[in-house]
Amino acid sequence: MSTKMKLTLSLTVVSMALGLMVSLQYRQISLSRLTSGGSWSPSDTEEQKMEAQLTALKNANSTAQQQLATITTQISLYEKQSAGSNQLLQQLQSRLEDERILGGLTPVQGPGISVTLMDGIATGQNIESVLTHDWDVRSVINELFTAGAEAVSINDYRVVATSAIYCTGPVVRINDHRTGAPFVIKAIGDPKTLQSALDIQGGVLDALRSRNLRVSDPQQVPSLTIPAFTGNTPSSPGGSGS
């Protein structure tokens, strides 16, 4: 046999051996994966794809919120321009701004207070009583509005009339978002009045503390920023208004 033929033949044999070894091993891995625990688990690539999708969506939503804020600022400028020097229209425009704040449609800034509600540490069987429930959060919010708060947020979700706050198992749902303890509540209003309303003896915070929830002292903050409400409004195209 010529040298060339010998070389070709030996290389063929070697490659066949290599290929056989690789394919045998590959079969063994996929077999062992199928039989491990008998339960299906997603491949790493699928999870990575979802994580990438989630990050992209979060970024897109954050950009959309900024876009929304820019548009509402432009509208606000036009509103002032439309009012011109007409006093009636100026009053209309100023009322419009206040109504926007009432509806929670735009981010707002101002002095206020911040308070944090945290689950207590359970000792034995009393876990239920030391958890922060939806009604606990709601009663603090109610107290703040009674005391004259103009804008309130829970974990940076703006609270409006239709923000139903309720428990879904281990987390609380607000504005269609799940959020859990600790609940950081911010409120814009007269800081002294808000703080004293919460600090009243036997008031809502005292009631929570008596159940061993960890409630921070309400802190006066000179300037708070509360984001706009982003959820379905009654007159949005999604729902049917009057």
């Binding site: 994966r33 929304l68 439309s82 009322r95 109504e99 449609l105 982003t230």
Partner: protein, 240 residues
């Protein structure tokens, strides 16, 4: 020739060992996958809501831009803007299908020791719970004894002289019967009232609870809010 075979065999062996040395999938992987799915769904919903809002605001902005400085057109655009915002804030009355819940003391109902007098003690929390459930399940607008519930609304039991407590909605005192009017999805609202056994619980506390359904197009009218507006402490943030 044999040396080449030998080297290739070793190479192949090393390659396959590398491929097989990947770590096994752990049980924690499945729960993080579910978490991701939930988060993805939430973000997708949020994206839809934001897109709708942006479209709506852009339409209003376009109306302003189209006026091209014409005072009359600008004024019309401003008035249109004002109407939309008023409706969203709760300043305008809203009519539509809905339900009405009327709560009234009834001492003729059977006395149950564990529940007796509980409503008088916690009427603000009980009503707040009902209102919250309604808003979470299809209600678009709610008023209690004619007081529209807006963002800054409060439901508060205030004790006065002689130990009597008065219920205050938006700091206005109201008296029985407490009538909760809610405009929205009648089926969803009725369902949550049933599931939460609101009527049964109130009856245990010796309170009559009458639920009237108005499925017609203008079945219930919820009045607009006429109280003080915010804007003294909170100011809009400007993004240029």
């Amino acid at each position: 020739m044999w040396s080449v075979t030998g080297i290739s065999a070793v190479l192949g062996f090393m390659l396959t060992v590398q491929i097989t040395s990947k770590p096994q999938a752990s049980p924690a992987v499945l729960s993080s996958y579910l978490d991701l799915r939930t988060q993805l769904l939430e973000q997708m919903q949020q994206q839809q809501v934001l897109d709708k809002e942006i479209a709506k605001e852009n339409a209003q902005l376009d109306q302003f831009k189209a006026s091209n400085g014409n005072t009359e057109d600008l004024k019309k655009a401003l008035e249109n803007d004002a109407q939309t915002v008023s409706a969203e804030a709760g300043m305008m009355p809203l009519a539509g299908p809905g339900i009405s819940i009327s709560i009234q003391d009834n001492p003729n109902l059977p006395f149950v020791a564990d529940y007796a007098g509980k409503f008088q003690q916690y009427s603000d929390q009980e009503i707040s719970q009902i209102v919250n459930d309604l808003f979470a399940n299809g209600a678009k607008a709610i008023s209690i004894n004619g007081q529209r519930l807006v963002t800054t609304s409060s439901i508060r039991l205030v004790s006065g002289l002689g130990g009597f407590s008065t219920l205050q909605i938006n700091t206005y005192p109201v008296s029985m019967p407490y009538v909760i009017s809610a405009v929205g999805n009648v089926d969803l609202m009725q369902a949550v009232i049933n599931v939460k056994q609101v009527v049964t619980l109130l009856n245990l506390m010796q309170e009559d609870c009458l639920i009237t359904v108005h499925p017609e197009a203008n079945g219930i009218t919820v009045p607009g809010y006429h109280g003080p507006l915010p804007g003294t402490w909170a100011k809009e943030v400007n993004h240029s």
